[in-house]
Structure formats: C-alpha cells, structure tokens
Symmetry: C2
Subunit: 209 residues, 2 copies
DNA sequence: ACGATTCTGGACCAATTGGTCTATTTCTGG
DNA sequence: CCAGAAATAGACCAATTGGTCCAGAATCGT
C-alpha cells in the first residue's frame, strides 16, 4: 500500500471504481517525483505509468508538467493536514504520535529501498525559485502543515508560541532525518529523531509559558 | 563570496592564478545544482558557466555528468569536514559554533534569494538510487561529516554515544530547517533550529553517560 | 629540439524533452 | 435520440539532452 493511502483512508472517493484519469496522473507523478525528482521525470513516463494519452494530461492540466506538480503538492498537503487534524482530535498521546511518525517514515524507507523521499521535500530542493507556481504551492502547503502541527501541540496543552516552535522543530527534524537516512541508507537518523521527539520535545515539563 | 569559500580558506591553492579547468567545472556544477538540482542542469550550461569546451569535461571526467557529481560531492564533503575539524581544535564554545552554523545558513538563504540548497541535501533527494556512483559518494561523504560532528561534540566533553546522537540531531535539524526555510521563503525554521541547538543540545547538563 | 602526453575546441549524433494540434470517442442533460 | 461538451488518442514539432569523436594546441620530460 502506498503511504499516501495510509493518510487518506476516508478521503478517497467511496466506491472502488477505477480512479479517474486526473487522479491517476497525480498519483503516478507523485510516485515518480518522490523517486527521482521533478526534472528527471518526463511527461512520457508519467503518461505511461498512468496509462493515459498525452492529450489527457494537457486537458486536465493545461499548464502541463508544472500544473501537475502544483496539483500534486496541493493534494499531498491536504492529505497530510487531514491526517494531522484527525490525530489532533484523537486520543493518542504526543509521544506515541511523534514516534509513530518517525518509525512510519523509517519503515517506508526500508520498504522502498531508500528510493523515495517526501514529495514536498524533494520539490523544495530543486524547484524553488525557477517555477514560481510550484514554489507558491510549496509555500502554501508547507504553511498549512506547520499550522496543523501547531494545532496538534496546542491541543496537547502546549502554549501557542511553544507549540509553534515545536511544530517547526518536528518538521525540520523529521524532514532532515529523512534526507540523511536516504543518503546514509540507514534509518539511524530517523530513529534518533523519533526518540528525541517522543522523550524530549513532547515532555509535559516543557509546555512553556 | 561563495559559501564554499568560507569553508575553504587555506585549502585553496595559494596563488590567485586562474583556477584550472577541472576546478572551474566542479565549481560551476556545484553552483548550478544547488540552485536547480541534478537533473535540471544540463552539461551545456555547466560548460558555459565554466567557460570550458565539451571536450574538457569528458577529458577530466570520463564518466561524464555523474563523475562530475561524484567529484563535487567529495570536494564538498572534504571542505565541510575540514571546517569542522578546525572548529574542533579551535576555541569557540559549542553554543557559539552551532548558532553560528544556523545563522550562516540563514544569511546564505537570504543573500541568494532562497535559491540555493546544500549540495549533499539537494543530491540526496533526487539521485538515490538511480545513480549508484553518486549514491555511494553521498553515503561516504555524509558519514564523514557525521563523524566530524561526533568528534566535535566529544572534544567539548560529551560522552561518545551522546556525541554521536547529537551529531545526527544537529545534521538532521540544520538540513531539515534549510529545506523548510526554502519552501516557506522565511528563515524562521533555521533560526528556531539554531536556538535549540545552542541552548538545549549544547547544554553541558546533557553531556550524558 | 623533439616526441609524447595532456588538454582544448567544437562538430556531430541518436534519443528524449515538454508542448501543440486535431480527429475521434465517450459522456451527459434535455 | 441527439446536440454539445468532456475526455481520449496519438501524430508531430522544435529544442535540448548527455555523450562520442577527432583535429589541433599547449605542455611536459628528456
């Protein structure tokens, strides 16, 4: 199962009829970009993986490849914020949630042979600022995720400014550990990050002013 | 001045005679990749920026673009470990050093209009595992940097395993904050990371067993 | 001075790139 | 049942890709 699916249970359109072309394009594009990066994936390959003809791509995304990237970023950001919102209203404690995020990423890396990185991270590192549309989508999406993390920390009793700082820390740490883990082909950095997040950052003693 | 130069004072070949072609190629390649990523920079552009003909590239780097990437990674990793080694034997305290790293990166981002990311980070996010040579160079280079950071923490009184963990934390945090800052076009994440590193991670009370 | 080696310069190549365009098919509301 | 819209299908394009190849220039050791 694709990691996106983990986050999306319930968001997916109900029936299991074949995904419409537009969604298949976004899905194929996301997978390929996470493996190889934006510039390295050609439209031809996306089309092949999605089993769609050229015309469909430019019908659904008149601005072409960059439009597809914008849609993929928006889709992913929404999926992540939805999942975080669900976690916020759920019962699980912060340490459990945070360590879970880190180990889920570690498992993902292992399962895919260290071949995939998170969409927003991958795009952030190659697209800014040559593609203003994508850069803007990344900015908006990233801000939404930060805000969702801040809400999560606040809902667990942290003061607003501490929550905001912890949101940044959590994102930076998970993101950087993911990149490092990919480079080192080892989950050490991610597990280390999970440990820190669960035992220190989420420590009730640090709920701040 | 280029950020690489900051790290290299003293490593540069002495006189200011024009850099040899091979070095110019590495330099041009590094700059371009940091801005746009590996796949997006064409050999033609590297050649133009380096003012070198096509033949020179394949003379100095018989394996072409990927060989150039490997050389650039090795060069960068050495520059970074050298700088860390100098810091280790130097006098500055850990908090000063760590906050300095974060704010140097923040300044770099601002100066370049959020257009450049660290070479190893950028490559790690798009090259693994399709280019095994580059992946290997990244793995080796990243390990060397981790080790240099571990030495730094140990030289400041941290126990070996704590030092190793702190090295991972520092790298993950700086790296992730860099990516986030680029996406958000704001240095918030980096400054937050610097603050944490200086006031918490480097805290002498946490020198561990 | 000279032969050998290193390096530069650039023409050239097949393959691929993102994108355009139009004909046809499929779907939908009335 | 049909008109019109939505979507699919793929031929086609100029531009660019990384890479090969070889002729000439510069540099070297002797």
């Amino acid at each position: 199962m694709h990691p996106i699916d983990d986050l999306l249970a319930g968001k997916q359109n109900s029936g299991n009829r074949a995904a419409p072309t537009r969604d298949r394009l976004i899905r194929a594009f996301t997978d390929l970009v996470q493996q190889r990066g934006y510039a390295a994936v050609g439209t031809a390959e996306v089309l092949k993986v999605a089993s769609a003809p050229r015309g469909s791509l430019y019908h659904h995304f008149p601005s072409g490849k960059s439009g597809l990237a914008v849609a993929a970023v928006e889709y992913m950001a929404e999926a992540v914020t939805d999942a975080l919102h669900r976690a916020t209203t759920g019962r699980r404690t912060l340490p459990v949630l945070l360590r879970g995020m880190a180990s889920a990423r570690a498992a993902w890396l292992k399962r895919t042979g260290w071949s995939e990185g998170p969409l927003l991270t991958v795009l952030s590192n190659e697209v800014v600022p040559h593609e203003p549309d994508i850069a803007e989508a990344l900015k908006v999406g990233s801000a939404a995720i930060n805000s969702a993390f801040t809400d999560l920390f606040m809902a667990r009793g942290f003061a607003p400014d501490t929550a905001w700082r912890n949101a940044h820390m959590t994102r930076s740490l998970l993101d950087g550990a993911m990149t490092l883990s990919r480079a080192a082909r080892s989950t050490d950095a991610l597990l280390e990050a999970g440990d820190f997040l669960a035992t220190r950052l989420a420590d009730p003693a640090n709920r701040g002013a």
